[in-house]
């Protein structure tokens, strides 16, 4: 039987956030081989912040992403390799290079209100013969109707699919359902969901999206990803099979990949600690977590206060530089309080 939806495993892209962008070619080879053999149709590989993300602001990659992509393309026998790019961070040349290396799916990501900066990149992906996917990040911040307007823009630029992306892991089941249902009812292109697990709802949101007819779902094996992690691919596959949704993926092989290839990279993955939960509760971009922990240590202020202040300021994905700004301001406030007392 054919699968009820298409699964994209983003362990080697979103998972990059969880390990400060330190993936090695050997890890990529093992993970791609395992996922490919289990039947995963699309595997995303890039810096966590997409092509060109290696930087002071987001963290420098251990291994150049062209090296990682090359290994992924060589290793995959059935799966297509996907890349992510954020206009403003990556440039068109990065996309051309990825296409040359053999990437076949280009996922173009913008903040949920800024779809119009993706026009030239979606068009380029199509020119390069790639599948183009629009990726609307932080979708929880706007109402479904507004999200639809932005999704329509991406569709009009030529996107083959548009995703509602819960970058902050802040979406409730009802929120995920309403967004997917509205997009499905009004778009002729495919619709996808990318869930994070900060409120422990990633699998539930993905299953709710399936009930609303979602065409594509993202997972990360063991949940390896930004914030408290993503929708764990092996759990999603098992839960789908038991709920009667065909995945086309071997659940036992998936469990094996999770245990042997991905779990060793970050054994503690899957624990939703207070800070991870807070991201979902405050609606803060998931990849801010490690940067905030580091800034908390460097400037001697609590991670929690940094995250809450970031939520207050309504910063968006890409503004990692504001973490330093917030931490220093909290440090100054604390110092003036001490002088005052």
């Amino acid at each position: 039987m054919s699968a009820s939806f298409r699964l994209t495993d983003s362990t080697l892209r979103d998972g990059s956030h969880a390990i400060a962008h330190q993936f090695t070619t050997e890890q990529v080879r093992r993970v791609v081989a395992g996922l490919d053999a289990a039947g995963i149709p699309v595997i995303e590989v890039a810096h966590g912040d997409g092509l060109g993300g290696s930087s002071f602001n987001y963290g420098f990659s251990h291994t150049n992403e062209t090296g990682l992509l090359q290994v992924a393309v060589e290793t995959a026998r059935y799966a297509k390799i996907a890349v992510l790019m954020l206009p403003g961070i990556g440039v068109k040349d990065d996309l051309r290079q990825a296409a040359d290396l053999g990437a076949r799916v280009a996922r173009i990501a913008t903040h949920c209100t800024e779809a119009d900066i993706s026009e030239q990149h979606i068009a380029l992906a199509k020119d390069l013969g790639m599948e183009a996917v629009g990726f609307l990040m932080m979708s929880h911040m706007i109402e479904p109707e507004e999200l639809l307007e932005q999704a329509r823009l991406m569709e009009s630029y030529g996107a083959d699919a548009v995703y509602t992306v819960d970058s902050a892991g802040a979406m409730t089941i009802d929120g995920a359902r309403r967004r997917v249902a509205l997009l499905k009812a009004n778009l002729s292109c495919q619709v996808g969901i990318h869930a994070h697990n900060n409120l422990s709802l990633a699998v539930a949101n993905s299953l709710a999206a399936l009930e609303e007819g979602v065409d594509q779902i993202d997972g990360c094996t063991t949940g390896l990803g930004a914030g408290a992690g993503n929708c764990p691919t092996e759990i999603l596959v098992a839960a789908c099979e038991r709920s009667g949704w065909e995945t086309g993926i071997d659940p036992i092989a998936m469990i094996e990949v999770a245990d042997t290839a991905v779990r060793p990279i970050r054994p503690e993955q899957g624990v939703i600690d207070g800070d991870g939960l807070l991201l979902g509760y405050a609606g803060v971009y998931g990849s801010f977590l490690l940067h905030s922990k580091r800034a908390a240590e460097r400037y001697g202020v609590p991670t929690r206060d940094i995250l809450l202040e970031l939520g207050e300021r309504r910063v968006v994905g890409g503004q990692e530089d504001m973490i330093i700004d917030v931490a220093m301001e909290l440090q100054r406030r604390a110092a003036s309080k001490m002088v005052g007392s």
């Binding site: 060109g52 290696s54 930087s55 002071f56 602001n57 420098f60 206009p87 403003g88 961070i89 440039v91 068109k92 903040h111 209100t113 800024e114 119009d116 900066i117 026009e119 030239q120 990149h121 460097r298 300021r313 309504r314 910063v315 968006v316 890409g318 503004q319 990692e320 530089d321 504001m322 330093i324 700004d325 220093m328 301001e329 100054r332």
Partner: protein, 295 residues
Amino acid sequence: MTLRCAIVGSGNIGTDLLYKLLRSEKLEAALMVGIDPASEGLARAREAGVETVADGVDGLIERAAELDLVLEATSAWVYRINAPLYRRVGLRSIDLTPARLGPLVVPPVNLAEHLDAPDLNLITCGGQATVPIVAAVRSVTEVPYAEIVSTVASVSAGPGTRQNIDEFTHTTSASLVEVGGADFGKAIMVLNPAEPPILMRNTVFCALGDGYDRDEVADAITRMVAAVASYVPGYRLKAPPVFDEDLFRTPGGDVKARVVTLLEVEGAADYLPAYAGNLDIMTASAIRVAEAMVR
């Protein structure tokens, strides 16, 4: 003497330029050129007693003898058509589009070198805001790699910027190296839709070579911020420069330290709202360059 200036483009930037020209003692707003007779910019110019042309640059070319300088506030592709026309009639121009035909100019860094060029390009708002800091650090130590993050309010980024975000990142990255003096450069642009709109923010990361002197670097940055603030009053440091020591594996090689400069730019609100520091720094830089041409 004063320079007789023509503004080409009657949109937001052109209109902001108009008010800055009207305030300048060294510059005269002689003409504003638009393509839409009903545009608000042209109406405001007429109201201020400035002559206007509503059917493009032909009218300007006819009057070339009465003009000294063009301030171009159209778009890159329009400027590529207009620039040769200006040259033919001997008019100089300051280009606020990202067309990059003339040398890239940042007033406190390299204006003196290019003051005689017929065509000067002002890079991008992000370039005007961050290149001075890179150049300041470079004046006292090696900068193997410089990276900037420029965040602007969504409402202050027009359709031109949005459709050409790649050109913005390319041009700004190039200016960190060509004008700022870094060995490698990377520019990142972020749009933030928060309401009320945020002020323009810029963060400049400079990798530091061995043997830098903290005080020297911090002094150079502080002095440069004052130099920019002399013509962009809302340009300021959010905090003293931050020095971080760690191993950073940058494209310019491994370094052991970086300095991070957090900047904010509040606009003068001549025509555009105060949050649009990104637009103000462009028009203020253009006026600075034009005034320097008056000798």
